[in-house]
Subunit: 339 residues, 4 copies
């Protein structure tokens, strides 16, 4: 269903796959510093750090799927069906409706430590955005330059876990994902040494056999293990181009291809993959239909405004036609034609 990912090179990168059978009207949305947020219980604010991320805009309000603020704090919400439990409001300071949780965090905190301090009496409530939009069962990954946290409110209460894997998917709850990960601890990116038998001559018939046993189906626990392995073994230098490129490759290691996850008459696919450079306020993305990486830089917009600034996520494949240049009759990238 979904995959969140955090990667630390010279900068901190944070993003996700959104996997679903249909789009939600998602766009890249920059919320400037003076956009008014009115929380159910925490009051209103029209002066806060700006936010960049992916959101649907409903009645002028950005409903974020994931985002980062100017301080580099990041958060993504992922489906957690059958496991999350939302409560009625408690009347205490920490009440927050699930659909408000992302802006509630991003407008109040600059890093995970501040988040932990306001999360002390956190109570995620069962209040709906509107009659048409009942609460979705979610859990969240909250990240900054130093660490990743997982926030899950389940039947036994609220749990906030340190997440050393840099990834999060969906079910089962995080402790189960981590317990299951123990079963894969012997996997590696290298060759295999024969420990099966001293008498039988066995053969690395392929490169990559050290990771035999890694799951490749698209269920949420399997994608957690696959993405955790890919992220843990990832090699990448520090440049922005290489970091974004590698981040996208890790996300795509757990991508959902059309046809492989059937739901009734439809199919769940990776609607989009996003990567936010949280240190620089740039958001990169691809869609299922367009593998070219687009980028939006929040610092190129006027952040001291109030209305959300949105950019559509075009799903049409943006081919680079190498020998179809209208100017010269040869490829667009041929030396004679390069601008």
């Amino acid at each position: 269903m979904c995959l969140a990912l955090s990667m630390r090179n010279r900068d901190h990168y944070f993003g996700r796959n959104l996997d679903y059978d249909k789009g939600y009207g998602q766009q890249v949305v920059i919320t400037p510093r003076h956009h008014p947020f009115e929380f159910r219980h925490a009051g209103a604010t029209d002066s806060h750090t700006a936010i960049i991320g992916t959101a649907a805009i409903v009645n002028g309000h950005p409903l974020y799927f994931e985002g980062a603020n100017e301080d580099g704090l990041c958060i993504a919400g992922l489906l957690f069906s059958g496991s999350s439990r939302y409560n009625p409001p408690s009347g205490k300071k920490g009440d927050v409706a699930s659909h408000e949780f992302i802006p509630w965090v991003l407008t109040q905190c600059s890093d995970t430590s501040e988040f932990l301090s306001i999360a002390e009496d956190l109570n995620i409530t069962n209040e709906a955005f509107s009659v048409q939009l009942p609460p979705s069962p979610m859990h969240w990954m909250v990240s900054d330059k130093k660490r990743d946290l997982v926030v899950e409110q389940v039947s036994s209460g609220l749990n906030i876990h340190e997440n050393p894997t840099c990834v999060l998917t969906n079910n089962p709850p995080f402790e189960y994902q981590m317990m299951n990960l123990n079963n894969y601890m012997g996997l590696s990116s290298g060759d295999v040494i024969n420990s099966f038998s001293k008498k039988i001559n066995l053969w690395n018939y392929s490169r990559g056999m050290g990771a035999l046993g890694l799951p490749g189906d698209l269920s949420s626990q399997s994608r957690f293990v696959k993405a955790a392995f890919t992220a843990s073994n990832s090699i990448c230098n520090d440049s922005e181009e290489d970091s974004v490129t590698q981040f996208m490759h890790i996300l795509k290691s757990a991508e959902q291809q059309k046809g492989c996850v059937r739901i009734g008459e439809g199919y769940e696919i990776t609607q989009y993959s996003s990567c936010i450079n949280a240190d620089r306020g740039r958001m990169y993305f691809t869609t299922y239909g367009n593998s070219r990486i687009s980028v939006v830089d929040m610092n190129k917009e006027d952040l001291d405004s109030d209305d959300p600034i949105s950019f559509p996520m075009d799903d049409r494949q943006d081919f680079d036609e190498l020998n179809a240049c209208v100017k010269c009759g040869h490829g667009r990238r041929s030396p004679s034609c390069r601008p």
Copy 2:
């Protein structure tokens, strides 16, 4: 190491991942109809169907990794270390050096039936292209609109198999891949029905659990199973854009991410992914570094010439900067700026 893929929609698409720890100087190469080929045993020709595909050009000769001719016949060579056996020349008509095999097929045949007829006394020889370029151990997938064949010369002789899976990777030999595939026949793209126990209440805690057991490591047998499943369950409409997009998604389901397959000090990655529309002579590709799909159309070049026409496979990420347009100060795709 590698993955070949064949997909039949309105048109026939054929391509591959090339997985290796370094590039080979690969380019998109169109070989026009009058390029002279001089085969070791089969004589010379300078009048043949044109070829488009990926090749390294060595001393003016295109050494193809995969390609298609104007009739739509396609062939890709994939590493087959430790399994392929090349023989000394037999003196018969079917002698062909391994590095010549791709042009030998593409210049003589218009479809797989013709290939089968010339393959009757096929003998792949152990002759080198040059002292510097000894033969690489290879097997091949040969495809047309109707079917896919696998060509393997092993210690027991030459084998040509019908390939119903539409994919080929590397070791083990094809019969082993097919035998192993039986172990996955119960996997599906749907939910799971509890057949484990009537007394225990079990739960599809995630979508996609019907394919639990599908391998996700990057060894060649696991990539064969993963890609065969993805290809077999793929859903895609007939348009060129959607077909190429889906073809690339299938290839990327078995992609190798940097760091996940360690070789000595280096790492094997998917250097490029290619997709040829064999009916229309168009080749699409991405590289590890550039996820934007480039396309070369052989029909836009003069095919009645002789020198190979080549296009570099640029590995730099070609970002689409949505809000950095130099002309208008807004995103390049903003309505005010769209050409």
Copy 3:
């Protein structure tokens, strides 16, 4: 490490494998009705239902590994290293030291409902039997004719779970075992129908392929799945002989063979396998060294006594020499010699 099993035919059968690298001086021990038990917190009793099971006798006290009382209530303790948490005594009624837990249950309760009622303020304490015998980390399966319960005291508190699987092994905690079991829900005892691909002809090359994916290693989670599958699919008629035979086959499906689980210089093996007919007070067992099933019937002893009655679990293989009868010179089972 261990496996507990419950099976309901005409009678209720309960037993276990004890897996360890050395024996504990275990014997079959019948504790008669007037053996004095003195609990740390719950007081003393010398009038209770008799108990049959496996125990080490230390200073005249039977320390049970598993057992059943005359009412048919059964309980087995299994290692739970790194997961169980024992507390200091709370001063409430439910304080019980871990080594006392089995007789505390069996002397007070006649079925699982009574157990649940006394377990309301259960607090398993960290008190040792003696300086030489510190508490072992354990969890327990408590069973009667109607249901199986799992009792685990972990860091988050005491959990009592209904157990629909009829089996229990060791780590991880029971919720994790059950969550993991969902991953196997598609397995079956039958053949497989090809749902992988409509285009590829796949083959049930062996009987039993419906359970492909079932784990066969000897770690505790794998043995849980393997034994749960075997127990869930087990077919057996109602006779005592067939029931005991089948019960032992299920236990042996998750047996530990010498050499397969290395611990330092030693090897963990299935020291013994036991099967109690809880309705009739008979205990059957085999040992690693002796596959012949021995049986002890508690009703053949004087249960109105006080001293434990014990039977050694002989580990020497008791071969039946078919053609070495000392009396007749032929096999012991030859018609001429049968008693």
Copy 4:
């Protein structure tokens, strides 16, 4: 379906599981030296080494499932459905009907070298024992003190393989079993070292996790891997009692429990497990119904006779009633009653 096993301690042990949904009237059968064998093509003999093994006797002829001769050469036949190919007689010396193959080998050869020399023009024919008993598709394991061979006649011809695993099951052909075994080379009997990630703290939550990934279902390829692992890691001292005990434990690691392999209305089970001490002419066995090990010693019979000597394989559980001694009122093994 079946499992053959060879084990070399001080003596050589050889045996098998016979897995089927019904018995074949199998008995322990000793064929003395002067029993007349009349082969279809190889002529007749009534002077040969004696044989001990499991057989059905049909019209006075022992049809062996497995056996050993006085020289210690052993052979077992195992089902090989869909893979074996029997030919019409060739007219050459090596013609032998499949049902004759075991006595043909055991009456002519004293070790595997002699077998290889007579196997040079071996042609296993499609001739039936009788109209009622058409040929069964089989392959064979032939063993002596030094090595194990696998004999398979498939569509591509006769293959004789060295077998370093000491085990054989059924499909797929032996090269496939060995290729597949490479996938398990990283498994071990020890603990696991975390090579998955340097950043994630993972845990050996159970002993035995080094073999995670070992299959536990009852299909023939999975049983091959499971039994090969168990045999390869088996630890056993040299005594006859311990060797036979351990041999049986290895066989039972791949046993088929009733209910786990459904065939139409029936269930395939391990009908019997046998273990021949090939150096001493003793055959040990258990049945599904009787776990006590029986033993027949061929040297206690008159081997210079001609009629087969047979011993039924009693399937009734031979319980040892420890406290039901008719003489003393206590257990049969109580000190006061031991003979």
